[in-house]
């Protein structure tokens, strides 16, 4: 799929089994996936189906127990060492001893940016996630959603070509979410970044993605891959078009099929 652009992520027969004290848990099984440069791929699936695990494998935070995976044509480890990606965790993972501003600065300090450049990027991304005015607060002084936005700002400030985002907008209200969806799309449009995006919201997935990967649980498998036929430029009201709703319906069906609820 998307054979025209070079593969950023390419996995084949990927499997991962966690060994726990009361037996193995198969989190991923037989995952085949190729993500091309500039794609926006959403992952959707029931809770516990392995979305986070897949992202972690791509990020070299977890080693697969079977199959092969490459990132930018090299191993995930090498890619990580080249700082190929930015990661937004499912939880905010802010350092409690740093102010919000310093938390956003963390990756910038690590890659060794100049103070001025740091300040500029912090200002820009803090504005983007609408957290201006909270720069000097500590994480525990922020609401849940604000913490999540701070962690998004941190990933965006890092400015890698591949963005791995694990439910970044989960704790945000619809309006902020719409706003950030738009911002993300425009960023993606501007920069030709590749984005892997985990979400539970079907409209969000359809609105944002060029491709939607539907997963099913235990063992986590890819059950459906839906190519979006929507144009690259998407106003918010595209979400009322029949085309949009048709894709959403297909995703919903795929999701329901893989689900374990009988009712």
């Amino acid at each position: 799929m998307s054979g025209q652009s070079p593969a950023v992520v390419s996995a084949s027969k990927l499997g991962l089994t966690f060994q726990t004290s009361d037996g193995p848990v198969q989190a991923l099984s037989n995952v085949d996936l190729t993500i091309g440069k500039g794609e926006f791929v959403s992952f959707i699936g029931p809770s516990g189906c392995g979305k986070t695990t897949l992202l972690r494998v791509i990020a070299d935070l977890e080693k697969p127990t079977s199959g092969a995976i490459s990132v930018n044509g090299i191993s995930p480890e090498q890619a990580r060492e080249k700082r190929a990606y930015g990661y937004v965790f499912q939880a905010a993972a802010l350092f409690p001893w740093r102010t919000i501003e310093r938390n956003v600065a963390l990756p910038l300090e690590i890659i060794g940016l100049s103070q001025a450049e740091q300040a500029e990027r912090i200002k820009r991304t803090m504005e983007l996630v609408n957290l201006s005015g909270f720069e000097k607060k500590y994480p525990w002084q922020l609401s849940g959603g604000m913490q999540q936005r701070a962690s998004i700002a941190r990933a965006l400030a890092f400015d890698a070509d591949l963005l791995l985002m694990d439910e970044p907008f989960g704790a945000l209200d619809e309006i902020v979410r719409d706003h950030l969806n738009e911002q993300l799309l425009s960023l993606w449009g501007r920069t030709n970044k590749t984005i892997c995006f985990v979400t539970h919201s079907i409209p969000e997935a359809v609105y944002l993605s060029t491709r939607i990967v539907v997963m099913s649980p235990r063992p986590g498998r890819v059950t459906d891959v839906i190519e979006s036929t929507l144009p690259r430029r998407r106003p918010l009201d595209i979400r009322e078009t029949p085309e949009f709703l048709a894709i959403a319906a297909r995703v919903r069906d795929g999701l329901r099929a893989g689900h374990s609820y009988e009712d």
Binding site: Y85, F89, P96, R98, E109, I110, F158
Partner: protein, 292 residues
């Protein structure tokens, strides 16, 4: 200053309780000897007089608080601070090697912890031997250390400080190994995604995460350091310092002297622990510590 007052009242109450108990024990513990003494002198004093005598023996088994207080006061305030009978002078001698040893010990403890956390070889091989080193009874080897150091021309403060170092590095090493390994796994993962170097992960994540462990360990270490400094004073001929006071007191059964030296040592210890505690709180505040 409200917090000061809210602190003073409990401390004085409890101290008062301790003093009362102390008097009771002084009478009980000094009574048998007083009885022997009276018997040998063929005296039969009344109860009040007897109790009075138990509290005013020149070399009591347990000196009464006022005896210690008087001795402490005389040796602290009535002597010139440069006299070697002054507790202030002796406390200072001990304090200086304590502080030096504590500084060495903390630094060494941290270095060892860093090594253990970062170098697999050290993690596997060093820890058992550090533990073994700590079980070597210091009083047994202190004289040998001092002899050897004297042979190579190192005398004075350094040998004593080294014994403090020996006793204080261990709590810091143990605590810091734990502390440096205590960051949340998700935070470590985050640093991993940035491909942060070991030193970056160390300074930006491990060090801040270890702070509660560091200061707790440092409290233990500073107390251990003081013990080390006192122990180290004995084999150097016990010329000056709280250890020397204790020794000469013990040697002549001058229990009152011993106790006032003990009180001096305790006061120094409490002050040191408090200073470390305050430093810990300042650091915590600077790190945006959330009030409990």
């Amino acid at each position: 200053m409200d917090s000061f007052r809210s602190r003073i009242i409990p401390v004085t109450t409890i101290l008062a309780g301790v003093v009362v108990l102390w008097y009771v024990f002084a009478v009980i513990l000094n009574a048998p000897f007083q009885r022997d003494l009276d018997q040998r002198a063929n005296e039969t004093p009344g109860t009040v007089e007897f109790i009075g005598k138990t509290l005013s023996q020149p070399k009591p088994t347990l000196p009464a608080p006022h005896q210690v207080a008087v001795n402490f006061f005389e040796n602290t305030f009535l002597r010139s601070v440069t006299s070697n009978r002054s507790l202030v002078y002796n406390a200072w001698v001990t304090l200086s090697s304590t502080l030096l040893g504590f500084a060495f010990g903390t630094a060494l403890g941290i270095v060892i912890a860093v090594g253990i956390v970062h170098v697999t070889t050290l993690d596997r091989s060093l820890m058992p031997w550090i533990i073994a080193s700590q079980t070597i009874p210091i009083l047994a080897v202190a004289p040998m250390i001092i002899v050897v150091l004297a042979a190579v021309g190192i005398t004075g403060l350094i040998p004593k400080a080294l014994i403090s170092t020996y006793l204080s590095f261990f709590p810091v090493a143990v605590g810091m190994v734990k502390g440096l390994r205590s960051p949340e796994i998700m935070h470590l993962d985050l640093m991993h995604t940035y491909n942060a170097s070991r030193s970056q992960t160390f300074w930006k994540l491990r060090v801040p995460a270890s702070v509660p462990f560091l200061f707790t360990s440092m409290k233990v270490a500073v107390a251990a350091s003081l013990v080390g400094a006192i122990v180290g004073e004995l084999p150097t001929g016990a010329v000056a310092g709280i250890g020397a006071k204790l020794l000469s007191g013990a040697y002549y059964s001058q229990t009152i002297d011993i106790w006032s030296a003990l009180v001096a040592g305790s006061v120094v210890a409490a002050l040191l622990v408090m200073v470390v505690g305050i430093a810990g709180r300042l650091v915590d505040r600077a790190m945006g510590g959330r009030p409990a």
